[in-house]
């Protein structure tokens, strides 16, 4: 996938500066993130460790009672290799307090509740650690809307949100993410046997290539088909991107006044920094 290939030392140089400078703009020098044992959070942990020093990074493991025990094992392996601080917060009691009381059986609803419990934990832990929450969503899943809104998608800053999954692996290998994490099938681990590619119904390799040509290079449907993509796949992905746009924007505000937040009251977050 030559078109998607990055030069890892260049991207590392940029993203470590991004973390240091944007944290400093907000008045911080430490980061907190959920480490799931998967490659995305492993990469963010590695970037944070390089940018901020491992002692300034807190990786939080947040298993639910049905989580795959390998996930925690891989998270611990990662934290050991990087030398970052760790905490473990079992979210079972917290999630079940709601799920059991309200008899939530639906798999998607249960997964969303777990993802949002983890968000609550991370935001609270970030106060205690005096850091900001670093996001771990990659460009592929953000575009596909494959995340829980205000759950795993919530963060203060995200160093990897403009990298496709293929590029995540390239940079992870460069930064020495442990092999067991690189070699396993990506999974949100929200229910037993779940894999990303199984649930999505296509491979990351196919999605990455299509998204690159569709989004980054703005090819038309006809041009994508001419490039070898199946029309049905092109339309399915395009529809999915449009349908999940709500996950990529802030809540809508009804404009009434002469100056409305985010419409004609426009300032960057780095305002004055």
């Amino acid at each position: 996938m030559k078109e998607l290939d990055i030069h890892p030392p260049l991207v590392e140089a940029l993203l470590t500066r991004f973390l240091r400078e944007e944290l400093a703009s907000a008045g911080f020098s430490r980061a907190v993130l959920g480490i799931s044992g998967g490659v995305d959070s492993a990469l963010v942990a590695a970037l944070c460790a390089r940018a901020l020093g491992p002692q300034n990074v807190l990786g939080v493991m947040m298993p639910y009672r049905t989580s795959n025990p390998d996930s925690e094992g891989h998270a611990r392996l990662l934290a050991r290799e990087l030398g970052i601080q760790t905490a473990k917060v079992d979210i079972s009691a917290m999630a079940d307090g709601y799920l059991a009381a309200h008899k939530v059986e639906d798999r998607m609803r249960r997964g969303n509740v777990m993802a949002r419990c983890r968000m609550i934990v991370l935001y609270d832990q970030s106060v205690a650690f005096q850091g900001l929450v670093a996001g771990t969503s990659n460009k592929t899943e953000i575009l596909l809307g494959y995340s829980t809104q205000w759950g795993d998608s919530a963060s203060a800053l995200n160093p990897i949100g403009d990298l496709y999954k293929h590029q995540i692996y390239q940079l992870s290998r460069h930064l020495g993410v442990p092999a067991p994490i690189l070699d396993k099938a990506p999974s949100a681990d929200l229910f037993e046997g779940q894999t990303d590619e199984g649930e999505l119904g296509f491979t990351y390799a196919d999605a990455d290539r299509l998204l690159y040509w569709m989004v980054d290079e703005r090819l038309t449907e006809e041009e994508l088909v001419a490039r070898g993509f199946e029309l049905a796949f092109v339309r399915r992905i395009a529809a999915r991107i449009a349908a999940t746009q709500f996950k990529r924007v802030m809540p809508l505000i009804a404009k009434l006044s002469l100056r409305t937040i985010n419409q004609d009251f426009r300032y960057l977050r780095d305002w004055g920094k």
Partner: protein, 301 residues
């Protein structure tokens, strides 16, 4: 033929001799004029100490770039205390500084002021505002409407602010006006990391562009690009000086704040213009006739 007849080569009244300059690759705080001004003063003091006669700052160096609603709040006239403080310092060193200019008629420009001997010698208002992709300058700024070379005690200069350099007609006018050096302050965001390239695609483009300016317009090119992040967008730096043969003389490596010192001199300029006399052979009246012909064709029903 009025246009063609009006074109004459101009002779610099104060030809370039040998100018020692500093390029300050800064990282302004977004909309924090006081802090940025202090950093300018410190950089100017350091450049004086290093023996420079000229210091070149990036585009909008006093304010930062993605200003949005801050633009109007930060607009300053040439008589503002901030500009006047720098004017005072220009008694010791010539200064090119980027700022949001509030003109006397109330319009707001993306401007660069050349300060020398305690006064504003020249102001260039960015002509080619950039409004596509991640940029929205036409929403914030009025566009300048001329490229004018000016004579400094150090030589004849022309200013190109960032996107100005993407329009070949900008540099061409400075070339025909006989500038010794083009000063190109910039806020170029870095982008394009795929395709396996070891450098950003924005750097590849700019390298080609700046080299071409030096080579085609046989001029010294001084490029001052900023660094740092504004809400997830970064500026890639790469500030440099290129000689009139198109050869890189000095550049700042990496993505951090830094300065470079370089000499630009007249003998190199003369040698380039003897070796390949592009200015002598440029025949601007052919362009003028062509423009008149195109204009006449456009007027046809």
């Amino acid at each position: 033929m009025a246009l063609a007849a009006a074109i004459r080569y101009t002779i610099p009244s104060m030809p370039l001799t040998d100018c020692r300059l500093t390029v300050a690759q800064t990282n302004p705080a977004l909309g924090n004029l006081a802090k940025n001004l202090d950093e300018h003063v410190a950089a100017i003091e350091a450049a004086c100490a290093a023996g420079s006669q000229l210091i070149v700052f990036p585009e909008l160096s006093l304010t930062g770039y993605f200003l949005k609603d801050q633009t109007a709040e930060l607009a300053r006239g040439l008589d503002s205390p901030e500009l006047q403080r720098l004017c005072e310092l220009s008694r010791r060193i010539s200064i090119l500084v980027g700022f949001v200019e509030r003109a006397s008629d109330g319009r707001i420009y993306n401007s660069a002021a050349f300060l020398e001997d305690g006064r504003v010698l020249h102001v260039h208002r960015k002509v080619h505002l950039v409004t596509y992709g991640m940029f929205d300058e036409e929403r914030e700024f009025a566009a300048g409407d001329e490229f004018r070379a000016f004579d400094s005690k150090l030589g004849r200069f022309g200013v190109l602010i960032c996107e100005d350099a993407w329009h070949v007609t900008s540099g061409l006018q400075h070339f025909l006006a006989g500038v010794d050096a083009m000063l190109a302050p910039s806020c170029s965001p870095g982008r394009g990391v795929s395709g396996g390239s070891t450098e950003l695609s924005s750097e590849t483009s700019w390298r080609t562009l700046l080299d071409a300016h030096a080579l085609l317009f046989q001029t010294w090119v001084v490029y001052a690009n900023r660094v740092g992040w504004e809400d997830g967008a970064f500026f890639w730096g790469g500030s440099r000086v290129i000689d009139p043969f198109g050869r890189l003389v000095a550049r700042i490596e990496g993505f951090d704040t830094a300065t470079l010192q370089a000499h630009i001199d007249a003998p190199t300029l003369r040698r380039a213009r003897v070796a390949t006399p592009l200015l002598r052979d440029s025949k601007p009246w052919v362009l003028a006739r062509g423009l008149e012909r195109i204009a006449a064709q456009e007027q046809r029903p």
